[in-house]
């Protein structure tokens, strides 16, 4: 499996962190989009809308 | 045990497991509503109220949605005094209906639920202007006027209020019977001609067809010359999209849901011919 490691450990860590940040941002945008097309807000301040 | 038997035992055994699960669950049968023959002569108000309670839970299917919070998909009814609530609703500035007392309000809520939508319970996205409730005098529930009266009687009686609806008189019962007997023949049919359609939707109540005189709405004598058929169709299904100069938005906006497609086409076709 040596050919799998073409990036150093540091680079892999950076890639992981970036991947998580990007994916989180994408999902946040997706959630916003999905709620907005249904005419609902996405409350991130955790105050339940009644 | 040979392979075939092993596979069969496995397959049939698995099938029986599923059968067992189905048989372990509570066994409920969904009875079809039975048309009850009510003996008017011997009916007391207590019977009438009991009949209303039964209708509420069974034939009326009200309890599917009207349940105590937080279960309900519609406002709670059993847990509150509906007479007091109705009086409050009638005083609400948002109330647009024509009822003057609690019984009238309750009846109106049953046959025309969109008339007053309780805040928070409207159709999703309609901002409480549309009610998700079906009109219960129409299919599939189809309660008769007498049955709705029975429900009102129960709603009044259950919280100790005075029952204001009267027991069905023999004449009323006879009328109900007539209506249901005639139902097969005279139930709303789709109009077959343009004239029938124009009458059915009472177009001539506001529009003059043979002059350009303005009644409530513009005259339609040469409407086919002023507008294309597409514009006519738009003016019927969405009357407020383009308003004729000098007219207020007074035309009903629900023709799109009331008319059948063929009725709409009949009307549009007839108006489009009016070119002069």
């Amino acid at each position: 499996m040596s050919e799998e490691k073409k990036m150093g450990p540091g680079a892999t860590l950076v890639a992981t962190v970036i991947a998580f940040l990007v994916v989180t941002a994408v999902f946040y945008g997706l959630d916003h989009f999905i709620m907005s097309i249904q005419g609902l807000p996405l409350n991130m301040d955790l105050t339940p809308a009644s | 045990m040979n392979l075939f038997n092993k596979v069969m035992v496995f397959s049939v055994g698995l099938t029986l497991v599923f059968t067992l699960v189905a048989n372990l669950l509570p066994q409920v049968e969904g009875e079809a509503p039975v048309e009850k023959q009510v003996d008017i002569a011997s009916l007391t108000m207590d019977d009438f109220v009991a009949m209303g309670e039964s209708l509420f839970a069974n034939k009326g299917t009200c309890t599917l949605c009207h349940k105590p919070p937080p279960l309900g998909r519609a406002p709670d009814i059993e847990g509150v005094d509906m007479v007091a609530v109705s009086v409050k609703r009638l005083a609400d500035p948002r109330y647009q209906g024509g009822a003057t007392d609690a019984a009238g309000y309750i009846l109106e809520s049953m046959v025309d639920p969109g008339n007053f939508v309780v805040a928070g319970w409207g159709k999703k996205g309609s901002n409480d202007t549309e009610s998700p409730m079906p009109a219960i005098d129409k299919a599939p529930i189809q309660l008769s006027a007498m049955e709705m009266d029975a429900i009102i009687a129960w709603l009044q009686a259950k919280d100790g209020n005075e029952v204001t609806v009267s027991l069905p008189s023999p004449e009323a019962a006879a009328q109900v019977a007539d209506a249901s007997g005639a139902e097969s023949g005279s139930a709303p049919m789709a109009a077959a001609t343009a004239e029938e359609a124009l009458t059915k939707y009472a177009c001539t109540g506001c529009h003059s067809l043979d002059s350009n005189e303005a009644l409530v709405g513009p005259g339609l004598l040469n409407v086919g010359g002023r507008m294309t058929p597409e514009q006519i169709r738009q003016s019927i299904v969405d009357p407020n999209a383009v308003l004729s100069e000098g007219f207020a938005a007074a035309m009903p906006t629900d023709f799109a849901t009331k008319m059948t497609v063929s009725e709409l086409e009949l009307i549009v076709g007839r108006l489009a011919e009016k070119k002069q």
Binding site: - | V28, A187, R233
Partner: protein
């Protein structure tokens, strides 16, 4: 799984694209023709367009052709109102008889619709890869389902007979509403038979070169006629659930297209189409598993292992999007009639979804177990084996949450016994948001099983593989967090509108995982180094998963048929024609379960017969005297 891939020659590539072009033209032609058929010379597109959309400003308006409405209007005849004595009494339950025949017809119809569909795809794969094993397997799939076409037709005929004899008024009304449509149906049936026999018996005659493309076209036409038959038949079922093209009393006011195109037609079409593929894959998988177990020959075992794997692959892949199609169907049912939706999901039928959960749980556990067992075929799987126990834990916990009973209509006595309308511990787990979390997590981890299985015989060679892996891990992690967050936060702390709204978020998260997984892996494992796999090297026990799948699928189909038909309650045609037969009530879940078991076992017997006949064709008895000679 493709050890020898000779690649695609330029000429082959050229032919593939020509064929696909031809296919597109054909599709366009069929769509055009069907519109021409339904138009009947009137401005059909404006008549079928939802009224509210006709007038959108700025859009080009459809040419208006004047309304000479009277001439098109047939005389208005209301739906019949049969009384109880109008239903013939034959001594046994009419409903049970029709139930059995209809369900058997659906089982076989689903099977013979699905098999040609994936046979065609496998055959095309064989042409593209140049690997004859695909072609042989496709041929074998056709062979074992061939008798199914006749069985479908025989049962279908019996069903029609039973319906006309036992429900004359309903059938007369439906014939009146659908008019000449049955002629089209019968015509299509002849077309399908023609293409079926030329496709199957021409297999070896049109095997290579240009003739192969002729053969593929025959297969395509077989599928086209079969699918058209399905959507026509679906329109009858959806008309009975949500009638369109008729007025309040059932008189026909629209043309045949308006009658067919009811609000539930397309959701049912999609749902049945996908489910048929999953069902067909599961049934032929059982055949492969039985053949695998009944031989010790390593070559045959390798062949049938591969066949079983492919069948399972088809079944699970088609199964994954099925909940979303079901979600659409249920949403359309709610939009059509809230009352009908509640009858299905919250009324007396609600317990049924516990049984459904048991069945889907069985399917997912069996499918996952088979994938994990299959990882023993390749040495590369050790890299992923540690994940299996976590997947198993998530599956089991989610399954338990799913079968927790939720909001039901309780009697006062039951409520008192439980101390409220909800159990204090089970209550919070029993409501829909918790179940949505569980279902979505089960789908996500099943896809994970699938993905690690696909990866287990490959080593990525692209330079960005670690980054790609990091991205995939991040997508899984964030999607799972998002599914749980949406379920818990919106499900428990806000009102109903948000619960429904946030369930879309969960579904979208699951879809993102599936789509991203397929895209990333197909890019990352391009030109990957493949590790050796050993077909046939799989435990005998794993094959029982391939028997569990079709049994659970068959039972599940029967169960969903029960709910689909029951939501009409006491109506033949909802709101239009009342059911006044002695059996116009919804039977209990136990009774339905017994009926479903009966039809499942009947189906099992018929399928065994079908497989037996298929094997007869390749069996040849020796001449008696030769046998005597060899013995003597």
């Amino acid at each position: 799984m493709i050890d020898k891939n000779p690649g695609l020659s330029f000429w082959n590539r050229y032919k593939v694209s020509i064929w696909i072009f031809f296919l597109l033209m054909l599709t366009a032609g069929v769509i055009g023709a069907s519109q021409g058929f339904s138009a009947e010379g009137s401005g059909v597109s404006e008549r079928i367009a939802p009224i509210g959309r006709v007038h959108i400003a700025g859009q080009p308006f459809v040419e208006f052709e004047g309304a000479s409405g009277e001439s098109q209007e047939p005389e208005l005849v209301a739906a019949p109102r049969p009384t109880r004595k109008d239903y013939p009494d034959i001594g046994v339950s009419s409903r049970a008889l029709v139930w059995i025949l209809a369900q058997m017809h659906l089982f076989f119809g689903a099977l013979v619709l699905a098999v040609p569909l994936f046979v065609l795809v496998i055959e095309l794969t064989g042409v593209i890869t140049g690997d004859d094993r695909y072609d042989d397997m496709a041929h074998e799939f056709m062979k074992i389902s061939l008798v199914g076409f006749s069985i479908t037709a025989i049962i279908g005929g019996s069903l029609a007979l039973a319906l006309f004899a036992l429900y004359p008024d309903l059938m007369a009304y439906l014939m009146h509403v659908f008019g000449a449509q049955w002629l089209v149906y019968a015509g299509l049936f002849f077309l399908e038979s023609f293409f079926l026999y030329t496709y199957y018996y021409g297999w070896n005659a049109f095997r290579y070169g240009n003739k192969k493309w002729l053969h593929l076209t025959l297969g395509l036409m077989l599928n086209a006629s079969g699918l058209t038959i399905m959507v026509l038949a679906n329109s009858w079922a959806t008309f009975m659930m949500a009638p369109s093209g008729v007025n309040e009393v059932g008189a026909v006011v629209g043309n045949i297209w308006e009658v067919m195109k009811g609000p539930l037609w397309n959701p049912i079409n999609l749902h049945r189409f996908i489910a048929n593929i999953a069902f067909g894959g599961a049934v032929v998988g059982a055949y492969a598993a039985f053949k695998f177990l009944s031989t010790r020959d390593p070559k045959l075992r390798a062949h049938y292992d591969w066949m079983g794997y492919t069948s399972n692959f088809i079944a699970i892949l088609a199964f994954l999007p099925l909940p979303f199609a079901g979600y659409w169907l249920m949403a359309e049912i709610y939009a059509y009639s809230q009352q009908m939706g509640i009858t299905a999901m919250g009324g007396i039928l609600a317990w049924l979804f516990i049984v459904q959960a048991v069945l889907i749980g069985t399917i997912l556990l069996a499918g996952n177990f088979y994938l994990w067992s299959g990882m023993s075929r390749t040495e590369g799987s050790v890299r992923y084996q540690w994940l299996i126990k976590y997947i198993a834990v998530v599956l089991v916990i989610s399954f338990l949450i799913w079968v927790t009973p939720h909001t039901l209509i309780l009697s006062a006595r039951e409520m008192a016994a439980m101390g409220g309308s909800h159990h204090h511990i089970l209550g919070p787990l029993g409501i829909m948001p918790a179940k949505n979390v569980a279902v979505n997590l089960m789908l996500v981890v099943t896809f994970l099983s699938f993905q690690i299985y696909r990866r287990s015989d490959k080593v990525a060679t692209v330079s960005w593989a670690p980054a790609g892996n990091a991205l995939m891990v991040a997508i899984y992690a964030v999607a799972i967090v998002n599914i749980i967050f949406a379920g818990v936060y919106y499900g428990y702390f806000t009102n109903t509108v948000y619960k429904v709204g946030s369930s879309v978020m969960q579904v979208a998260s699951t879809l993102v995982v599936i789509i991203a997984g397929i895209v990333i892996d197909s890019l990352m494992f391009r030109n990957a180094r493949t590790l050796p796999s050993h077909w046939g090297k799989i435990s005998d026990r794993s094959q029982y998963a391939l028997f569990a799948l079709p049994i659970a699928f068959t039972w599940l189909m029967g169960l969903m048929g029960y709910v689909r038909s029951s939501v009409k309650t006491h109506w033949h045609v909802y709101t239009v024609m009342k059911d006044n037969s002695p059996e116009n009530y919804i039977p209990t879940i136990g009774y339905a379960g017994n009926m479903i078991t009966l039809v499942t076992l009947l189906f099992l017997v018929c399928v065994l017969f079908m497989f037996w006949v298929a094997n007869l064709s390749s069996t040849r008895q020796s001449r008696p005297e030769e046998l005597e000679g060899s013995v003597g």
